[in-house]
Assembly symmetry: C2
Homo-oligomer: 440 residues x 2
């Protein structure tokens, strides 16, 4: 139970109100952190991340075979974060050479790493083989031959999963729906493609076919789409078994919905993961896999880190448009958080330096970038903000910094990890020199 009940599951678990009506996270005064390191700044609450990681591991703890929780690094990939995930016994999904390099840099246990992606380059496959990642998740037929050849040249045998597309349309934003029939990801279960793929993998002695992966989308709040997808995957696996190819591993991805707004339906993502794991057993048994249920990986990204992150901005100006909104302009915006512009994502906010003041009216939080669409929040009730106030936006831990740009040549924000009353700078703010570092 969060000390800020309205923000339960949205703000970090440790968020509370301290002396002077300041927001505290991880025992640190957010106002102090902002003064010390400047704004905009992102805070991550280590306790929230560790608590989520443990809860997800517990959620699949009763699974009758091996069950792993893989953090999907695309939500946010930083050395300090991967260290925390490794310490918590998590596995890791990477989708690029860059993410794999960061993982290798903190010596993330390689056997717990899966390499995903719909278009891995030759260099990236080479890196995956050299680093001996646990699994390569093959996306398409072109990749099978490429990986098999490269593995053979290195004299290694690579364990692989095949990404399949179960053609399940989960209710979510079209951009986030990855398992619909017409998707760039995976091989279709509705045609011969997936079977062809498994056959091609099985023929290559440098590849070790372990099983299937699918991912049906993001921000999914209901369990039914997983049931449908699992049913299709096991029906397919039955056919494979008849060809002598047992399903040893199965990954039904992640995509569990998180809350961004107090008005969002509360959703227990950990309970969802538990339900998915139970469902795997039940559907496996129904398809005759009793006693041979595959090892399981679930792959949450956003659900592990979104609520741990807090974006903090300083108010520069307040402008009431006659007959329109009152715009509160802050010193960040679409360059550090593209989600409102790109996906119409909605957020809430608090004034970190005036937590005990009552809301007075509805305001729009405008970014500083030269674009009309750069509005972080269209409507939020707040005490009347003044220049100098700190606007804190919770649920900022996933897909903000991961997608941050230098639009308008703005330096990307600093990042601070807070834990037990200590704020630790883990990423320094970019400088103007950084912005032109690659110019020749």
């Amino acid at each position: 139970m969060s000390p800020l009940p309205r923000l339960e599951g949205i703000a970090p678990d440790t968020a509370t109100v301290g002396p002077g009506g300041h927001l505290l996270v991880g025992g640190c005064d957010v106002v102090d952190v902002a003064l010390r390191y400047g704004t905009p700044i992102y805070l991550y609450d280590e306790a929230t991340i560790r608590a989520r990681a443990r809860a997800f591991r517990e959620a699949v703890g009763g699974y009758p075979a091996r069950a792993a929780v893989q953090y999907a690094a695309k939500a946010y990939c930083a050395p300090w974060l991967l260290r925390v995930m490794a310490e918590e016994g998590m596995g890791l999904d990477v989708v690029s050479g860059g993410e794999l390099q960061v993982a290798a840099g903190v010596d993330f246990p390689r056997e717990r790493i899966s390499f995903h992606g719909n278009n891995k380059t030759g260099e990236e496959l080479e890196l995956a083989l050299r680093e001996r990642v646990g699994r390569v998740v093959i996306d398409n037929l072109d990749e099978i031959d490429r990986l098999a050849t490269q593995a053979a040249e290195r004299g290694t045998r690579q364990a692989v999963l095949l990404r399949v597309n179960p053609a399940v349309a989960a209710r979510t934003h079209e951009h986030l729906q990855t398992g619909a029939a017409d998707s760039k990801f995976g091989l279709s279960l509705s045609s011969d493609d997936a079977a062809t793929g498994v056959g091609m993998i099985a023929e290559r002695s440098s590849l070790d076919f372990r099983g299937l992966h699918f991912h049906i989308g993001s921000q999914i709040g209901e369990i039914e789409p997983y049931r449908e997808a699992l049913d299709r995957a096991f029906r397919f696996a039955r056919g494979l078994r008849d060809r002598g190819l047992p399903l040893r591993e199965l990954s039904p991805g992640g995509g569990y919905r998180v809350r961004y707004l107090p008005s969002d339906t509360p959703v227990d993502t950990v309970a969802m993961a538990h339900e998915v794991a139970k469902m795997v057993v039940e559907i496996a048994e129904r398809h005759g896999f009793a006693g041979a249920v595959p090892d399981l990986s679930i792959e949450p990204g956003r659900a592990l880190v979104a609520s741990a992150g807090l974006a903090v901005y300083r108010v520069g100006s307040v402008k009431a448009v006659p007959g329109g909104r009152t715009y509160v302009a802050v010193d960040g915006g679409m360059a550090d958080n593209i989600r409102p512009t790109a996906y119409g994502a909605e957020y809430t906010a608090v004034l970190a330096n005036r937590m005990t003041h009552a809301a007075e009216a509805t305001f729009a939080i405008a970014g500083r970038y030269c674009e009309s669409g750069d509005i972080l929040i269209r409507e939020v009730r707040l005490p009347r903000p003044r220049p100098g106030d700190l606007v804190a936006i919770p649920a900022s831990g996933a897909y903000h910094l991961a997608m941050a740009s230098n639009y308008n040549l703005a330096p990307r924000p600093a990042v601070v990890v807070v834990a037990d009353g200590v704020a630790r700078l883990v990423r320094r703010r970019e400088t103007y020199a950084d912005l032109v570092a690659t110019e020749v």
Copy 2:
């Protein structure tokens, strides 16, 4: 007239087909450039940029007072590009300390620089004053006091324009419509706000009120919205004149539409600028400003650089989804070009290594990023692509690299300027080390 008539005004002016059916730009073989510098890569054709700059300057050449063409650097800001703009006699709009630093780094003539932005920080205003930029374009009341105080402390007098909002709704994407009544930018002409702002500026001896700026949006293909906005601005200026505040300068912004697709209506942006300039004179005279027409700035961004830029990707895999699209996966995508994901922007493409092959079918160009929405082009007719082919996407010069991220920890692309048969690397590809350079 482009040697590739279908791509007139979309591809660089110098684009043509060379030996072996390869695409040539600036006399350089695009296939060679991609081999030498890798993919994804962005090529800029210097001749196209210079031709556009000259055409815009000519378009306002007959204006009866001083007329400047200011490049809006937010479209793309790089040292080499600002050097070209300076050489062509252009002015410059910057919107951040970062852009101003780059301009200062190439010693862009400061008096030709205007500093815009809806939320300039104190540090940025300080930088603008220290660098003695020609104009600061004030956005809101909070800024007036701040700038006046900072200028007074430095003992300087800063020439300023006031950004006003004429409340004209131009037909364009909502995100790109900046002059609508309810906008975060400028002070409203429909209320007393703008008059209050001018009054506040006039009272401060450290500020020198020169005139007004407005910007009604982007990708505007019709002239009427400018007429309406100009009429409102001059009506307002009449009131100012009666208070003894002459309108010495006027900037009706930019926002001229460019073509992205062969099916887009051809639009002569330079002719639009010419029409806008003529219209300023006509409306000025109608409002009694004959003999005292203000100096003029027009501020194109996209129209100067979009068609000069070409994005080049390599095909990794081709996947036909049963009953769906055929996805051609390339090695870039939403991290280097967020516009399709964020704005539904549409593009065309060619195969740079097979320009003489006839189109065979319709394909989707999918990016490499782990997101369903990462589709660069939903439908384009091409010769059947094969792994290794080069997909070149024209009209990539504006708002691609400017908004590029390291999503999925992908290094941002290299940039090459082509001119007279010489390809010059101006921005090296990021390395994995660059990606973690600011991690502490």
